[in-house]
Amino acid sequence: MPKIVLTDITKRWGDFYAVDHLDLVIDDCSFVTLLGPSGCGKTTTLRMIAGLETPTSGRIEIGDTVVFDSEKGINVPANKRHVGFLFQNYALWPNMTVYQNISFGLKNLKKYTKQEIDEIVQRVARVVKIEMFLDRYPSELSGGQQQRVAIARTLAPEPEVIFMDEPLSNLDAKLRLEMRSELQRLHLTTGRTFVYVTHDQMEAMTLATKICLIENGVLQQYDPPLKVYGKPNNLFVADFVGSPSINFIDAVGTQNEGSMDFTVLDDKKATFSFAEPIDIANWREAEKKADAERAAAKAELAKNKKHVEKGNKDTVFKYHVAMVDDSAKQDAEPTENDYVIGVRPEMIEICDDGGIEAEIYSAMPTGMETTVRLRIGNFLLTGVVFGGVTYEIGSKVNVRFKGNGLMLFSRISGRIIGTGALKV
Amino acid sequence: MKKLLALVLVALMVIPFVLSACSSTPKKEQSEVQKIIEQAQGMSLEELAKKAIEESKGKTFYGVGNSSRGKSALPVFIEYLQTIDSTYTLEFDWQQPKNNKIFDQLTAESKKTVGTYAMTLIQDGNQIESKMVQTGILDTFIPKEWAEAKGVSADKYEGYLPLQTLNKVFMFNSVGTKTFDNCWDFVAKDAHGQFMDIDSEIVGKNFLYMLTKDEYSKYLKDAFDKLTAEEKAYFQPTIDALAETAKDFGLGENGKYALAWIKLWVGSYNKVEDDGPICQNLVDASAVDQFGLLVYSKLRSIEESDTKSKNNVKVAAYEDNYEGIGGYGYCHYLFVTDNSPLPWTACAFIAYMTCTQKGFEAWGKDMGGYSSNPKVAKENEELHNHAKGGYVDGENKFPVKNDRGYDWWVGDGKLVLEDPAYCAKVAFTVGSWIETLDKYTPAADK
């Protein structure tokens, strides 16, 4: 059964790197989402695996077959890769009825009799609940129905792998939710490998067995959703995943016997204790070494005549610290003593014995939960309180950071150092 | 793309020089076709016909010409051959290329060892001389009977074999009061004759070349002398100004009159795309005082109506008191191609057209075209009586259509006749000078 392996895949147009030296292993029967902001290269990656786009360099294997290898000049065309592809705009053939759309590819396989084809069409139509539309033309269907037809057409030839390119983005919110769960069921019932492109982190979180987060053509993190959420590799990942977004707090300080002494939120003293002990000096040493290695590898590459400098440069993610008044913000060059602490909204607890005084800046109850913005000095933090709690805007409360899952990032590189608890 | 284009362009520039190595030069020794022509010139039409039957039975005959009537003449010729051998058949195709393309086509054809066309019927002596004869592409064949009728011997005869002479004559609209009694009237102040542009019909240019030949410039001089002093005064400065030029070109004493007439004509004629429209224009009742130089036979196509009538025009030369040139005569010549696939048949066909009335019938039934063979011309006139072409039911209804015949035209009619050798000679003296003249454009006049 197929396992998809991408080795050092690069795709560029001129000096624009859509995908930059990507290594990826997609396990059989997994449901992998390629996640990232628009234009990050996730769709390109998907299309390259499917054979619709030719990588500039690298190697792709599907199962035991090398379908692409730039060095050997191998490039198995898309039609010989035996995969399914669900397009963002469905790409239904407008000149054919739903039935014809589904059966067209099957007829071509020549291994089925007319009756068998009919059975398959009926079966997949049942799976996606479109049996009653078989005689209609795509233009006579609603978006959701078209979507189902597209799925049915993709499923009909029973491909081993199914690729989906933002299949739900054209649907309305309610339908999207419904389809999402149907896709999940589909993954289970068909037992195929799903590779799914989306820019919606919710979709990625809820569907995937593994999330592959890409930014500017570079792989940021490839882990199960909860790990991506709980221990993001860097500021970008932390920020991209999670809704409402994570809070970032600038922290200045040094390590003091295992834990860190920080000054946060203007003038508050705080201690960050790691969940697993980390020596900052060692960590920094290791990071430097890794950086040097990467730089060396890059220099090696640059020697190649054919190498093209990446036009779309990689930069450290500019995280956003929410403030009441943004104008006073100054961007000093970060030093080794500058850190960023990431606090998920649910890690902020409003309780009477909290050590920080805050003012309710805004409160948005949904019934199930309430999202509150808390003002601490000039800073704003977002927190979530479960249950139907109401707050009066402007009232004073006490808060604290709960749990052991707060993240500590280096401000220079944006990388995570470790997780732990923060005491103010 | 840009680089590629540059490359291609460079290549384009270079290729010709490479090709130049392969281009052939005309051969000096007698060609196969010329040898056959030499024999053929000693044979009678009937002997030639037998040779033709032998050569071309069941084959296809390709001819090319400026006149479309070759196509009507060929079946008559085949019928003639069938009277000798009733089993004889010949497929044929007659092509009439447009504009000046016949020369390009014959040139292109000449590169083959065996060409497509057996023979050609072609006009414009000037270009024939320089492009076809001097380059050895076309060969002249003189039929024995034709030479006899002309009273010359075939191998001594110099020049080409004309099938017929066509005439372009001065005609004017006679609805108004203005008369044209001297050929200088056509270039007088504010006179604008209708004429096919010399650049679109090249024989028109040959007409101008021929005017500079001594005998024709004499016509002009004589006509000039008949003008009134007042009229003379208008032309005199132009004539004087061109005396030097005439000398430079090595023209005779009257050359300056020719050059002056040419200059004034080029500077005044109103170009019309074809002789047909000129004729249509002139016969219109509205075309008061208009005149033109056009093919005489165009008159035959005019249908009488309330606004158009053949009686609305007069042929200048037919007027009693008319002085000077009456028009221009040019020839349709017949040639055998030097790589003719069917030289004997070509010779026989040419002989048939030039030596029998039947062969000439395709052209002879119309006025304004005169067979070069006096015998054929006579027979033709007897048959069609073009001299009384204007008679309807014995009544002289359209006097302009009474064709006075070749002899009258070259004599009293003072027709300027095309002489290919002379045209070719002055093509780059007088010819180049004509190119520099300012043509008349009505817009500039207003």
């Binding site: 035996h82 592809f85 | 390009d104 086509q105 001389e129 076809m132 650049d199």
Partner: protein, 608 residues
């Protein structure tokens, strides 16, 4: 995979693999084949002409100046550019050509664009009628309007040959600049090509998302600002395409300036060809360079718009501008009148002409005496040489005309099929590989013949096919040349439609391993049926009435348009008018048939 290859064998295998991969995509195969074919069909004629500029032609000025009768020389260049008559042989015609081409572009864009706007975006009356009638001038041979113009405005007093209709019937004379020369040439060509503008610009207006303008309206932008800032930029590509097409065609037009007495490069080409054959070829080269230049300019202007995405929105509705109760009728009536003169009147006058005793003899209109009409042009059933029949049978019985009709149909259908198929394939392949250099090359090279003046192309092919393989005066030659010349029609219309087609439509089929042939025949062609059919229809119609391209390549009898010219020259105007009529009726019937069967029609045209 085995890794035990020797490095060389390995490299060979890699190259082999790469080639295999490359050609496994049909668009690549098509592009390579088309690149080879188009390179030959485009550059071979150019080579032939450029060679001709350097050759010595016996009996012409170059032979005279060099004193040689064969070989090569550059004297043609020096003489053409520097001699005392350079002005009249080169510079003036060049200037006239440029003014004519630019003027025709302006007229056609203004008239066609305005018409497109009125028809697509306002509540004008009689839209259907107007839209159908508007394209007539393009259907008719281009000189027909020129002859109509002359028949209308000529007068003894001004142009000095005879009185036209206006002068004859009403005694009205128009000034010289109106009757002949630049002004009428520009107007006639502009009117002739205005349908291009209408088709191209109208296509965008029709598909344009009204929201774009509505958004501006809501922001309270003044109407003229919407026009200049929103609407015009949107139709800019269409305007540029129109310029490309009209400029290329107007520049090379021979009959119109010839009839209206304007000296352009193409008329000069014919005029000086006898004495200055090599220099005439230089003029042809200059015309080609102008064509290449305008294409380069066009491509540069379009470069900023990398995406060709359709300007089509979700609303699918275009807002209709209200012309007012009176306006919608008054403007419609004005247009009906104008189109009457450009479209209906020529047809009537052709029909009328076939009953006149003499060409342009409108005695009947003055006297209403039926003796001044005749049916002999149609019904004479034997050879008569008197009465102006020139030995021709009447049109109904004239085998030559009906054989020519057959020939015209054969050539047109063959050209349409060949150009349509090739053009569609090129459009398809180019749209698939839009970014590749090869695609850009094929696209440009396939388009180039269109920008070369018909006369130049025809000369080039004449030179190419009259010496080696003699195809002169055969249908083969006409079909080959017609195909080469008309591929751009089909490739443009196919490219436009293919670009509108989302690539995923085909990818969805590729993924399912549906073979290319089936993808084309079952998916792509059916979806873009109407514009692909236009890609066939346009060459067909153009071919039917083509003269400049064919007149040097065959004798007079082969096809109708050369017969038309032949009869015109002979003075048998009744016959040439009759043939015109036959052509127009044929085109109208074909257009209607195709419209009925496929839903496509000419007025959808290159705009897709």
């Amino acid at each position: 995979m085995q890794m035990t290859f020797s490095p060389q064998a390995n490299r060979r295998a890699v190259i082999w693999n790469k080639i295999k991969t490359f050609f496994s995509k049909p668009q690549n195969t098509i592009l390579v084949i088309m690149a080879v074919i188009c390179t030959f069909t485009t550059f071979a004629p150019i080579v032939a002409i450029v060679e001709d500029t350097l050759k010595i032609h016996p009996g012409t000025i170059d032979a005279n100046l060099t004193g040689r009768s064969s070989g090569f020389t550059i004297v043609n260049y020096t003489d053409l550019f520097t001699s005392t008559i350079a002005k009249q042989n080169l510079w003036n015609p060049l200037l006239n050509t440029l003014i004519l081409a630019v003027g025709s572009c302006v007229v056609s864009i203004l008239y066609g664009g305005l018409f497109a706007f009125l028809v697509t975006r306002t509540n004008l009356r009689f839209k259907k009628y107007l839209s159908a009638i508007f394209i007539f001038p393009y259907i008719m041979p281009q000189w027909t309007l020129a002859t109509v113009w002359k028949n209308m405005f000529d007068s003894v007093a001004v142009t000095g040959n005879r009185d036209g209709l206006l002068a004859g019937l009403f005694g009205v004379t128009m000034p010289q600049w109106w009757c002949a020369g630049m002004f009428p040439s520009i107007l006639v060509l502009g009117l002739h090509y205005a349908p291009f503008a209408y088709i191209l610009i109208g296509g965008i207006f029709r598909n344009m998302d009204a929201n774009l303008e509505e958004a501006a309206t809501i922001l309270n932008t003044p109407k003229w600002k919407i026009m200049t800032h929103v609407t015009l930029p949107l139709i800019r590509p269409a305007i540029l395409s129109t310029i490309l097409l009209v400029f290329g065609s107007a520049m090379g037009s021979y009959p119109v300036p010839h009839f209206l007495g304007l000296t352009t490069l193409s008329t000069r080409y014919i005029e000086i060809n006898d004495r200055r054959a090599g220099q005439a070829s230089i003029l042809a080269v200059i015309m080609m360079l102008l064509g290449i230049g305008i294409m380069y300019f066009n491509q540069r202007s379009l470069k900023s718009r990398k995406s060709y995405t359709t300007v089509t929105g979700k609303s699918g509705q275009t807002s209709v501008i209200n012309l007012g109760k009176v306006g919608k009728i008054v403007i419609a009536i004005i247009l009906v009148l104008i189109t009457f003169f450009t479209s209906i009147f020529p047809i009537i006058s052709f029909a009328f002409e076939t009953f006149l005793p003499n060409p342009g003899d409108y005695s009947f209109l003055k006297t209403f005496n039926t003796d001044n009409l005749t049916t002999k042009w149609w019904t004479t059933s034997e050879n008569v040489s008197e009465n102006g029949m020139y030995g021709q049978k009447g049109m109904l019985f004239n085998e030559m005309i009906w054989r020519g009709f057959g020939g015209t149909m054969l050539v047109s259908v063959a050209c349409a099929l060949a150009a349509g198929v090739i053009g569609t394939l090129i459009g398809y392949a180019v749209s698939k590989k839009r970014r590749s250099k090869l695609a850009g090359y094929v696209n440009s090279v396939a388009f180039l013949p269109y920008l070369m003046p018909s006369i130049a192309v025809s000369i080039a092919f004449f030179k190419l096919f009259s010496s080696g393989i003699n195809l002169f005066n055969t249908y083969w030659l006409l079909i080959i040349v017609g195909t080469v010349k008309y591929i751009p029609f089909a490739s443009r219309s196919s490219l436009n439609s293919m670009l509108q087609l989302s690539g995923e439509i085909e990818e969805a089929a590729i993924i399912q391993d549906i073979p290319w042939r089936k993808r084309m025949t079952r998916i792509i062609v059916p979806i873009q049926k109407s514009s692909i059919v236009s890609g066939f229809l346009l060459p067909f119609m153009t071919c039917l009435r083509e003269l400049s391209l064919f007149m040097l390549l065959c004798g007079q009898g082969l096809i109708l348009s050369t017969q038309l010219d032949y009869f015109d020259e002979m003075g048998l105007y009744a016959f040439s008018s009759g043939i015109n009529l036959i052509l127009i009726v044929t085109i109208l019937i074909c257009n209607a048939l195709v419209n009925k069967i496929t839903g496509a029609s000419l007025d959808k045209g290159i705009g897709g």
